[in-house]
Structure formats: C-alpha cells, structure tokens
Assembly symmetry: C3
Homo-oligomer: 316 residues x 3
C-alpha cells in the first residue's frame, strides 16, 4: 500500500483520520475492535480513564442524525472530552462560508477532532485534506462509507461468533444507497468472511462490478440458507413506491425478515439492523425483538468503537 496516497494515514503509516474501512487492512481493524472491547470492559468495570480530558470534539452533522450524534457525544464525553454540537443550520456555512474556512476557523479554536456527517460522498475526505492538526472521523457520507457503523457491526459479530473468519453474511435491502452496507462489506472482507451475500430488489442492488468479492443473490430465501449473520438495511419508505412500484406489504413479503424465513438460516444466526427500523417493512416484530436479534448490542457497541477510534486517532 502506498502510504503517501492514503488520505487516512500520516507519513509514518499511522491512522490519522477515519474516513472508510476500505483499504484499512485487517490489522488496524482488529486493533480498533480490540481497543473497543477493552474500553467496554473498563467502562463496565468502572475504571474507564479520562483519556480525552482537556480535548474538544466537535460534531459537524450537515445531515441530521440524532442517534449517531448522541453516540459520538457520549463516547467522547465518557472519555473526558468536551463536546460541541455545532449547529450547522445556523452556521456560517449556511451563510456561504466554504467548508474549508469553517474547518480552519473551528481548528483555530483548538478543536481536536471533528465528527462529520454529510449527504455528499467525500466531504469528510475533503475536511481531512485541509485539516492542519485536527483529526476527522467520518460519521456517514452519502452512500460512500460509515466506518464506525462497520466497526460496531464487526465487534457485535465477533462478540457473538468469536470470529468473523469463515462466516456467511447476508446483507439485505437497499444495498445500492447504503453506506452501512459498504462499510460492512469492506470490514467483513478484511476480516475474512467466507461469503458475503447481497440481496434485494434489482433496482436497489449495486452494480455487478462494484463488489466482486460478494455474491448477489436474487431470492432472499436462498440467501438465508446457511447464513451465520443477517444484516437488514433500513429502506427509505418512499423508494418502495417510487423506485420499486410496490406496496409495503409486497416489499415485506419479498424481502422482510420473518420468523419463518429466519428458520432457513443457521440455528445460531444473529440478526442485525443499523436502525432506525421500519418494522413490518424490513423486519417482523418477533424477529426484531426475538432471541436472535443483536440490534441493541450494536447500539451499545457503537459507543465503544467510537471511543476506540477517538482514542486511537488522538494518540492517547
């Protein structure tokens, strides 16, 4: 890997920003997961050290997401950082200031880390290219990447399965528009999943060439056969009618995860969802709330992998 060309690394090859799991490499991913698990142990044991005391973390959410913003806020705060929720709607950016000037201004106030969400692919990378000293964490950009979601999914899988290596993972739903799916695929591939199966209506699947390492499976039932992990994606409801020309019930009949359908997967398969769920569209109530669901574990792990990312990037 040419480190010079890697926008996430510094000249010594250390992780400097977290923009994507793509190309991050197995070793670094495992180190982040290990650190997340260690921080979790410390937190639950009441011995979490204030690693980020005196540091300032700024949430720059150009796209609304209270769930992810709150997770980052709690991760940073519980490590001792001060968190500023920068109010984008009322900010200079909305008065025509360039993203670069906004970043430079906030850096001049001694912000140590920026958590960036934006509807356009590449905005966090653009911040990273201009940051002087601060670190950038991508909290979701367009349909490009959501690396901390990928990490929390990997940690959750590891918690339940011991290892990612050799697992069959089905990702079902609107893969085409999903940054969650992309970061999951990159992480699962890096950690040696046996087979990653992508399933959904043709109009919502990625191009055949985007993920040569994955298998596109038309039938959800077929995809589930022998799956160890099932990741259901959130579907924007307006796409069901608008893109697919279907009703919600029709969509659910074809791609909703029901108890009956889940029986096709391995007996110990786990069910994941990044949230927020559309119950009755992507997933049946009894599955979402059932014993195979690890959805709330994902939420809990989100805080710990975000702690790990901040601690790693800020070198503490």
């Amino acid at each position: 890997m040419n480190l010079m060309a890697d926008p996430q690394s510094d000249t010594e090859g250390r992780l400097r920003h977290l923009l994507t799991l793509n190309g991050l490499g197995r070793e670094r991913i495992v180190a982040l997961l290990d650190r997340g698990a260690a921080l979790r142990d410390a937190y639950r044991g009441g011995t979490l050290p204030p690693l980020l005391a005196g540091r300032t973390v700024m949430n720059l959410f150009f796209e609304a997401s209270t769930r992810t913003r709150t997770s980052f806020e709690l991760a940073a705060h519980r490590l001792g950082a001060f968190v500023v929720n920068f109010d984008i709607a009322n900010s200079s950016t909305s008065k025509g200031e360039s993203l670069e000037d906004t970043l430079a201004t906030l850096e001049a106030m001694d912000a140590d880390a920026f958590i960036v969400r934006h509807k356009e692919n590449g905005t966090p990378a653009r911040f990273a290219a201009h940051a002087r000293r601060a670190v950038i964490v991508n909290a979701g950009d367009g349909n490009h990447a959501h690396p901390t979601q990928g990490l929390l999914d990997l940690l959750t899988i590891r918690d339940h399965k011991g290892d990612v290596e050799g697992l069959n993972v089905t990702i079902c739903g609107d893969v085409r528009h999903s940054r969650v799916a992309r970061s999951d695929i990159h992480g699962l591939s890096a950690l040696g999943a046996n087979e990653i199966r992508l399933c959904g209506p043709a109009a919502l699947l990625p191009s055949a060439t985007e993920f040569p390492e994955c298998r596109i499976v038309g039938s959800f039932d077929e995809a589930l056969d022998g799956s160890d992990v099932i990741i259901m994606l959130r579907l924007q409801k307006e796409r069901i009618e608008g893109v697919l020309g279907l009703g919600e019930a029709e969509y659910f009949a074809a791609y909703g995860l029901t108890g009956e359908r889940l029986a096709r997967a391995r007996e110990d398969a786990i069910v994941m969802h990044p949230g927020p769920m559309n119950r009755g569209v992507e997933i049946a109530d009894d599955v979402a709330d059932g014993p195979r669901s690890v959805i709330l574990d994902q939420v809990a792990n989100g805080i710990f992998v975000r702690m790990a990312v901040l601690a790693e990037l800020l070198r503490v």
Copy 2:
C-alpha cells in the same frame, strides 16, 4: 394501594418513575419536598455532593419548553450528571421510528434517566411501561400531569406558609387544559389543603365530576375571599378570542389578578404563576412584581425539586 397496578412504583413499592402526583401519597410527596429543601441548603452552602456523577440524563422534549428543559438540565448537571438534549425534531422518531424503539436505543447507550415532555397524555407512562432499567420523569404530558411543577409549587407554598394543611388555595384561569392545575390539585389534596377553589370561564373549567374535592367558584372575587394562596394559570391567548369570544381586556377585567382584587385575599396571601406570564391578561404588573408574588421562588425551587426527584429515582 395495589402496588402491582401502580406504574410509578417497583415491586417493593419504591418510587421507580415520576409520572403524576395523583395517588403518590402524602408520605412520598413530603419526602421529595424535604429532600428538595435539603439539597437547596447544601447547594446554597456550597456542599452539594455530586450524587449523579457518571450518570447520563436525557431530555426528550417532544414539545418545546426551554424553561423546563433548562431547569432539568441545571438540576442534573449540578448533581454531576451528564445531560444530553436529544434533538427530537431531527431524530429517528421523526423518521417514523416508534417511541419504544427510540427508548430502547437510547437505553442501550446507557442513559439512566429520561425527562419526557409530550403533547399527548400518557406518553411518559408509555415510556415507563417499556423502560428496562432507566427511570422516566414526566416533564408535562398534554393536560394530564406536570408533577415536578406540582412539587415546586408545594415547596414554595411550604416555604412561605410553613405547611399546606388547612390552607385555602384558589387556582384561576384555564384549568381545563392545564396539567399544572391537575398536578397542583393532586399535591394540595394529598397534603391536606382546606379548600381548593377552581375559578375561570365556564368553557375553561373542568367537568364538575373530575375534581369532587375542589369547589368551583364562578366569581373570581368570591374565590379570592380568604384565600391563602392564589395560583394564576397561563392562558393561551388564542383561546380568549377563539373559545371565549372575548377581548384580552374583557378577560383581564373578569379573571385578571389586580392589586385591588388581591386585597380580597388574606393579608399574607401569596401569588403564584407557572410562567411564562401574559402580563395584562392573567396578572397585573404590580401584582406580578409585588411583595406577595413568589413567582421567582417557584423558578428557583424548580431546580431543587428536580434534583430531589432525580436523586430519589436513581437511588442515590
């Protein structure tokens, strides 16, 4: 009292959530007031202990109220808690997530307490029914209850009158739509007020059967005779014209508290208002700012009763 049926108590009869003062009982109310007064002494003496250090309190205000939100925020922060102001307008709930899933998600992030305000009666109880570990504090639901307002009113009355027992209390204005009035009535009844008089235009009074313990008095002058405490309610101005068909001056002439009118009450009567006040509609300037007004004491006490509620519910 059948504890099993009491949504506010745990199986051992301890207070688990605070949803309403209705049925809470004299002993528990007095304990909360005593604790509020003790925390006030400690705060003012500079010896308030960080009872909630390491705890996370989340403000879930589905209905805007900066005043009450800020009071809870300061109460929790001054006891050492970390407060997250969950931005409902941008949250998953606004993307169609159920309240139960939002609650479960935030609980999975280790929130210890949720402060809930909602325009619909019963929403805090719905949260309480689904909470796994977290405690729920009702910060106002519909016209149902606003129990911490009730507590702060009781503490303020106790401060000035020594005891609630035996007092004559007049509540004037839009009683029908007022959760403040309901929580006041429940609290005043539990603490043995002599007479609770409800006064206002017929269209804004509750049904004759809702509060058999109260006396409905048509004339404000008559209600004031011998009153020890006068609680003026906030009126939504649009109801004056829309519901009553009156002008503001007409309403004020009939139900506004003036100095002249106040002279009908006991010499040492106190005047209360939950705020924000419509001066010249519910209350005259010279009364609002006069020596009988304890309105700012109410505000100050709000923080201390909220501290007491959080400390009690979180068992610290």
Copy 3:
C-alpha cells in the same frame, strides 16, 4: 466620568457588564487585553485554572451565530463554567414573554452570566438594566457594538505590532451596518491609533458626523497607502445588488483586497477579517490565505479575550 450614568460600571466604578468599548477607557481595555494574553499563556502552558468552576453561563443568541456562540462556549467551558445554550427559537420569549421576564426567570435559576446577541441595538443594555446579580456580555447588537470582537482585534494587532499607538488602520466595506467596525473604532481610538481610515461605497459609509475621529477616504487605494492594519468587513451579498446596484465583480474591483492592492500598504501590514469571509467579494484568496493574513489569529484570540471578560466581570 459620571459613574452613575455608566451602565457598564457598578457604583464603585468596576466593570459590571460589557456592552460596548465606547467610553470604556484605555486603562480598562488594556487590562482586559493583558488578562487575555495571560490566560492564553496559561492555556497553552497547560496551567489554566478553573476560575469559573461552579458558575453557569447562558448563551442567549436571538440572532444566529454559531461561530461567536462556540467561541464563548469554549471560553467559558475551558475556565470550568457550565454553559447552557438557551434555545431562543423554542423559548418563552417566542411565546410572548417579555425579555425582562425571561431574564428574571433565568437569573432565578442561578445563571451567573448571560451572553446576549440580538438584532436590535440596545437589547444587551436593556438586559443589563434589569439584571439583579448576573453580568451581561454583549455578543453583538444590531449595528451598535460587538465589544469582544473589538477586543480580539486589538489583541491581535498588539500581538503583531507591539502597540496600537501610532498605527494607521484602514477599515473597508460596509461600515454603516457594522457593529464590528464601531467596536474597532472605539477600541483603536482609546488605544491611540494615529489614523483610522474608513473606506467603502458612499451608501455603506456612516454619516460624516458619527466618527469625527476617523478619516473617510473614497478611494481604497488611497486609504491603503501607508496602512499598518487593514480590517476588511463582511458584506451582506444582497446589499451589493440591492443597495449598490453593482455586480459582485464590480464591487470586488472597487473594494476587494487583492495582492496588488495590498502592496500599497506598509510592507509589514496585517490583514484582518471578522469572518465569515466572502472570498472574491471582499478579499482575494491569495490575501486571505497569504502571509499578511492574521485572520485565524483573530479567531484564536477571540476565546482568550472572552475568557478575560468573563473572569473580570465575575470577579475571579
């Protein structure tokens, strides 16, 4: 000076609020700058004491400004205060409560300082007139004053020029509508600048009588001759077309600061801008990002002068 008539001072002549630099006097301004510089040293040396521990600072921004709000938030937090960002849009003020009642209510919650921004001249002074115990800091009112911007500009000039005395300072752009320009002029005059030159289209200049101590210069080139400091103001873009009847390129040709034009100033002249910048309107990229630009120093200093103001007003 008649101290009784000075709304910023207490009866012993000590600074009680900061509303304007007008009439503040050289000694007090220098003391604030010295304290800002000392706090900067302490912060950068890791020895900043938590002077405001236990104090509550409330941001009351009736006009949106994330940049200034964040600067105050960081200043207060880094000194140990708890900061409440009062959400004006959802507040009682928007329900018709008077500013005085909002202030009294928040003071009753034991707020120690209010940072006030408002589109109307004089609102911070109105708060100061009604504050019982809390201190008021003007964070910008109408086109009247923005005293902490004035202070940060003075500190930045002093950092680079050693002293303000004897300097030639050009302020260019929409002086008429600028509270920044007014506070700069008051501060520069108090500290003995040699000449303050105001430059801009006639429609955006103040009346000839408002600043007798300044020289109004029609030509930007002429104003720049021999300037030590050039302060470019932000222009609301809609005024270019609406008030001036110009295109952006025409405005830039007449009043934009280019490298070529900058060559007319002294060799060691510094370029300032309060931000957010309209690049290509007020200032060329190569100047904004060039070696004479001290724009990011201004941002950094903003935090330190705000620390100094809070510490001074709160007597710590």
